[in-house]
Symmetry: C2
Subunit: 274 residues, 2 copies
């Protein structure tokens, strides 16, 4: 906060921070107890990052993130923001010095400034998650930390038919952790779900790419666990419509393991950047 003020559109006097710093982060989820700061002594991405920022700027720094990730979930494009104070002009070396302070397991891949008032959470237009599944008897090696291994080959066509039924606007209560759903609006809109086979680091896997504005707690992992039931032949694709209609977590498939999930990308409007 600074002492300067400006009028917001509703006429209330607001503090006028010089600008907002926005960082993009990649991290290996298996090394952290999730993104959000927890009780003292548990290593989280937020605690590591805020401690580094506090040392760098010599003042307490708190960040806002685009999406909290659970323990074990990876990120390729997590985004965090924090207000700069008047006179703070981070040099081009900010990224490098943060990467020096934070390693290993988390990397700052981009640093830019946004207009005052920007929030990594509230200004996000879409979020993309990617989930990797290695299907077949041979366990993944190089992809082992970043994929769920299932022994049976999955039927991609069936999974795609099921995924098409999940796209669009639905009440996703069946795909939300019970405690998180209680008394909350569980209607969300999924822009797209794409399922493809790919080979990386020499290992074949299935990638499920889900894009939407906002997600419920463990929603993507529950969608993947449900699509897995279809892929393995335990249910017909149409079953996912019954799962949606049931509005009960018990009707859906398992929560797929955290390590297969990567918070991939967040889209913001072009006009927020300075």
């Amino acid at each position: 906060m600074t002492n300067a003020t400006s009028s917001s559109s509703n006429g209330i006097q607001m503090p006028d921070p010089a600008s907002v710093m926005v960082l993009t982060l990649a991290y290996n989820g298996e090394l952290f107890h999730g993104f959000a700061r927890q009780r003292e002594g548990l290593l989280t991405v937020q605690s590591l990052l805020e401690d580094a920022l506090t040392r760098r700027f010599r003042r307490p720094v708190e960040v806002v993130c685009a999406g909290r990730t659970d323990a074990g979930v990876h990120a390729r494009g997590q985004v965090v923001s924090f207000e700069m104070q008047e006179g703070e002009k981070p040099s081009g070396l900010l990224m490098r010095s943060l990467n020096g302070l934070m390693k290993p397991g988390v990397v700052v891949t981009d640093a830019r400034r946004a207009r005052a008032g920007f929030s990594a959470r509230f200004d996000a237009q879409t979020r993309e998650y990617r989930y990797r599944v290695v299907d077949g008897p041979i366990p993944p090696l190089a992809l082992g930390a970043f994929a769920w291994h299932v022994r049976k080959k999955l039927d991609l066509d069936a999974m795609r038919q099921a995924a098409a039924l999940l796209a669009g606007q639905h009440d996703f209560e069946s795909f939300c952790l019970t405690d998180s759903a209680k008394g909350r609006n569980t209607v969300r809109t999924i822009d797209s779900i794409d399922i493809e086979r790919a080979v990386e680091l020499g290992e074949e896997y299935i990638e499920v790419r889900v894009v939407g504005k906002a997600f419920l707690h463990s929603m993507v992992r529950t969608m993947v666990g449900t699509l897995y039931q279809v892929g393995v032949g335990a249910h017909e694709p149409e079953w996912v419509s019954d799962v949606l209609a049931a509005r009960s977590r018990a009707s859906a498939g398992q929560t797929a393991p955290a390590k297969g999930l990567t918070f991939w990308h967040v889209e913001y409007p072009d006009d927020v950047w300075l």
Copy 2:
């Protein structure tokens, strides 16, 4: 060995093993003190594998490999062979039971039988190594264990010009560990060196793919360290011809770190498989 014998083409009576078992292995080199068995207590791929095979077949088993890899070097397609004894008929479950006995860090990705006399080492027609370099200020995360990180962007065109001068038949003494080269024939033929940019797991890297029949000790890593000198602008591409001509390890670039290197693939004649 069995008691059965057969005549080889030169008329000498030879033992006639029932057949040879051939396994393809992937492993994470950072977990092992290289491929080759060493003194007791050092974990190597060979010791882990032979111990598992000895338990599986209830007799001592020794394997021959297509190429020894140094500590820290990964494999995607290492190949090993060992003689089967008469009456030994490994089931389709061999791969699965070995993977259960050996994890983590090494995976059997293929198991097949070859004609008697086959050797993973001596029957190899070509070997392919791949070396990954992440160039730029942002350290790799998901690729961190499988790539060499250098801070400067490398000039691929210059590296390709230099690589073209290394392809073909040359005396590669300058690219061999001094001790290994002493008094040995250091002429080798490189079939191809391809250098491409790629993106995997969301991270950009340079891949150097080298194919040849046989390689000297640490030859690929020294080639990469030498190409790096060109890519970073410390030398012109033509310099590598001077390096070859010098026939002295001191003239070449550094030995690039082990973790960037993966023993990728071995090619065998089609007619060896049963």
